[in-house]
């Protein structure tokens, strides 16, 4: 693909990776969600210029794209930390003390759930269920899962990522 202009009508080298993603999915039916997922993987989050470029290139109204990104919890419209901590709040984790784990991590990092530390190292999230219920309470950092947590173990794991 030669040009990916975005809505502003000028070349943007930052968007070349997006061009490759769009080319891959150009002929797929139902391309929007895979495109958004891959764009988020490439850029870390979905910035305004990325969404505008998808809209122009794929002829989908920006309002529709915004509707989809805000509907699904996976999509982020703001930059996040290098490490994303997802504390599981599924039923088994909840009855095994997930709230306490989250509180402990939040205190350790000095942020609330949904926030990112000032140094952009960590983002803390609470998620529905990671499917490791027998190791409850559980958390996931990026794609690694940690089970049988206590507040102290969780703090220790996070230290490894600093």
């Amino acid at each position: 693909m030669g040009c990916i202009c975005g809505a502003r009508g000028r070349e943007n080298p930052h968007l070349s990776r997006l061009g490759e993603i769009l080319d891959k999915h150009r002929n797929d039916a139902g391309f929007l969600i895979p495109v958004l997922q891959e764009a988020q993987d490439a850029y870390g989050y979905l910035s305004e210029d990325v969404l505008e470029a998808i809209s122009t290139e794929m002829s989908v109204p920006l309002s529709q794209i915004y509707g989809v990104t805000t509907f699904y919890s996976q999509f982020r419209l703001h930059p996040h930390g290098r490490e994303i901590i997802k504390v599981c709040h599924g039923t088994a984790c909840y009855v095994s003390g997930a709230e306490g784990i989250t509180k402990g991590i939040a205190e350790e990092l000095g942020i609330k759930v949904g926030e990112t530390t000032k140094d952009r190292l960590f983002t803390l999230e609470s998620v529905a269920c990671l499917g490791c219920c027998s190791l409850a309470p559980v958390m996931m950092i990026n794609k690694e899962t940690y089970g049988r947590l206590t507040s102290d173990i969780a703090r220790g794991v996070i230290k490894k990522y600093e």
Binding site: A29, G30, F31, L32, I33, P34, L36, Q37, G67, V68, F71, Y72, S73, Q74, F75, H89, G90, T91, A92, C93, Y94, V95, S96, V127, A128, C129, L130, G131, C132, C133, S134, L135, A136, V138, K143, T145, Y146, G147, R148, S151
Partner: protein
């Protein structure tokens, strides 16, 4: 997952013939990995190299003994022995004693021929159809699936059985959808086959969103080919040439293994044009979900595959007549599809002989919470709840007292001890106010507050409500507000009455299954644990000590040594007392953060 498992070299002939040398097989499902299976793997790699022991290091999926992870199978000429709770520190002894000296370490054995352990019953009392290969084969090696008779059922139907007859086999077997509602699978296939349309789809619903359920993940991670084979047979039966697997993005390992399985099946000619050199063509695509619980509902799932907001629509038309891109579509759950090949191979009658009159076959339950042996339990339909929780899973952890079992996730209900003897089948569970759902079973003991648990589920459904219909969008919100007030001791006079009325209204008036079942946790706790609501409202107490604003912290005179640790940790200076004398908490200052209790070295602080 950065590491890659070395593949077993597949021989051209004799699928899966065991090599004479020893094998070490490590359970590398998500739970195994979370428990540290990769560290154990590395330790074995190093130890084998160091001691120059020839043994093949292999992986398998989850066998369901989740409470014993990390699990390691050692296969020698004397047979297969499984060790549980393996840590890297244990590896050296396993290699030296078992592999070199041929002396299995009896204290660590959890399963093995001729060994009676406390875990023997966990598997022996199960009946495994869907989980038949999980934890037995390497999910990333198609030859191992073939060695168990895999893809034989597909071959049989393609060569010998006309599509209509396949449908009648499934109808005769009595298989019903395992995703929750329990609709007869054969009839669903029949509707889709009979629907008008040049193009038809089969969709595998792997959007396992119920918190507390992970059987679909285990099947996808441990035996992905059984699901692909089920989809192929379904595709052939309904006349589809394309299938989609809609899988949760939160299951990266399942996605990875599915991709491997699909490419292997394609290489073997089981997927693509002219499957097994017959006129039947079929291919499968994976669609990763993006984190919306409501997408487990079939019309929402279709909207999501089409790239839209995953919002359900009114039915009819049902997907069988107008589904994906308006074409006839059959949507089946992972567990349902994993039954199909077994039914074709073993016959409808054998499947129908298992279970009750209306619920045939087996069902997998993910039993977790305050139970001794948590994990995956597959039992015939009609097994008593007590057998699952006490017989197979060993009863309550730390010898606690059983209080409730939550069945069916946010759409299900909480059942008390009096109902432990009911049998598990679609009809009996529905009669209690719970539902079969996907099969999550979270066991609660005295430390769980039922009002808070109901609030927890409402918080979940309220969050996940897509907002399309008013009863669900506003109803769950208002219910959550009432429950929150009750757990905080700020109940209004008519809250309880209003809560029950509203719960019934939301159930009746909501558009889709999410809203129609969201009130179940509230209604069942009101029905079976009404006294807990009363205690919260009238006495402003939470006996389980969960609802923070209804508990007070107190120091036990006989245990307090006056060490002062609690004083140091109290953020609001609510604790006072002279050194080496009993301390006291000033209730008017206490913010109930619980830090004192967490840090007391003598367990002298408790919640009342």
């Amino acid at each position: 997952m950065s590491k890659n498992v070395k593949k077993q070299e597949a021989g051209n002939q004799g699928h899966g013939t065991r090599k004479p040398s020893a094998q070490i097989i490590i359970g590398l499902g998500t739970c195994g990995i979370a428990a540290g299976a990769w560290d154990v793997w590395t330790a074995f790699e190093k130890e084998l190299k160091k001691r120059k022991v020839k043994a093949e290091l292999k992986q398998t999926g989850c066998i369901g003994l989740c409470y014993r992870e990390v699990l390691v199978d050692v296969v020698t000429p004397r047979g297969k022995i499984a060790y549980g709770n393996v840590t890297p520190a244990m590896v050296s002894r396993i290699v030296s004693s078992h592999l070199i000296a041929d002396k299995p370490i009896e204290d660590w054995i959890v399963l093995g021929d001729g060994y009676e352990t406390s875990d023997t019953d966990f598997l022996a009392r199960q009946y495994r159809i869907v989980l038949r290969n999980c934890g037995q084969i390497d999910p990333e090696v198609i030859e191992e699936y073939l060695a168990t008779g895999g893809y034989k059922a597909l071959e049989k139907v393609l060569r010998e059985v006309p599509p209509e007859e396949v449908i009648s086999i499934i109808k005769q077997s009595g298989l019903r959808g395992r995703g929750g509602a329990g609709f007869p699978t054969g009839r669903k296939w029949e509707f889709t086959r009979r629907a008008q349309g040049d193009k038809k789809y089969i969709v595998c619903n792997a959007d396992e969103g119920d918190p507390g359920a992970f059987m679909d993940r285990s099947v996808l991670e441990g035996d992905p080919h059984s699901v692909l084979e089920g989809m192929l047979i379904a595709g052939y039966a309904i006349g589809a040439d394309e299938g989609y697997i809609y899988v949760r993005a939160e299951y990266p390992l399942a996605v990875k293994r599915l991709r491997i399985a699909i490419s292997q099946a394609r290489e073997k000619g089981f997927l693509g044009k002219s499957v097994m050199d017959t006129p039947f063509s079929f291919d499968i695509k994976i669609k990763e979900g993006a984190g919306a619980f409501v997408c487990g509902e079939e019309t929402a799932l279709i909207a999501s595959i089409e790239g839209r907001r995953g919002m359900p629509r009114l039915r009819p038309p049902y997907p069988a007549t107008s589904g994906l891109w308006g074409k006839p579509t059959c949507i089946n759950n992972v567990e349902t599809l994993a039954n199909v090949a077994w039914i074709v191979s073993n016959g409808a009658a054998e499947f129908a002989a298992i279970g009750t009159e209306k619920s045939k076959g087996t069902k997998i339950f993910a039993v977790t919470g305050k139970v001794k042996n948590s994990g995956l339990v597959e039992v015939p339909m009609g097994t008593a709840l007590r057998e699952v929780i006490f017989g197979i899973c060993g009863g309550i952890k730390d010898d606690g007292e059983f209080k409730a079992v939550q069945i069916g996730g946010p759409s299900g209900g909480c059942l008390p001890a009096e109902l432990l003897d009911i049998t598990i089948d679609y009809e009996s569970l529905t009669a209690t106010g719970a539902i079969m759902g996907s099969g999550g079973m979270v066991v609660a003991d005295q430390s769980t507050c039922m009002v808070d648990l109901a609030r927890f589920f409402l918080d979940f459904t309220q969050n996940e409500s897509c907002g399309k219909c008013v009863p669900c969008r506003l109803g769950t919100k208002r219910m959550l507000e009432m429950l929150t007030r009750i757990t905080r001791g700020r109940t209004r006079d008519d809250d309880l009455e209003l809560l029950e009325t509203l719960a019934r209204d939301v159930k009746v008036a909501s558009l889709c299954g999410l809203g129609q079942t969201a009130p179940n946790p509230v209604l069942t706790t009101l029905k079976y644990f009404g006294h807990e609501y009363d205690v919260h409202i009238k006495e402003r107490r939470c006996r389980a000590g969960v609802c923070t604003e209804l508990v007070t912290y107190a120091i036990k005179d006989n245990l307090c040594k006056g060490c002062g640790v609690c004083v140091k940790h109290c953020p609001v200076d609510a604790i006072s007392g002279a050194r080496k004398e009993v301390h006291h908490i000033d209730e008017s200052k206490c913010v109930k953060c619980g830090l004192c209790m967490e840090h007391c070295p003598f367990d002298a602080i408790n919640k009342v």
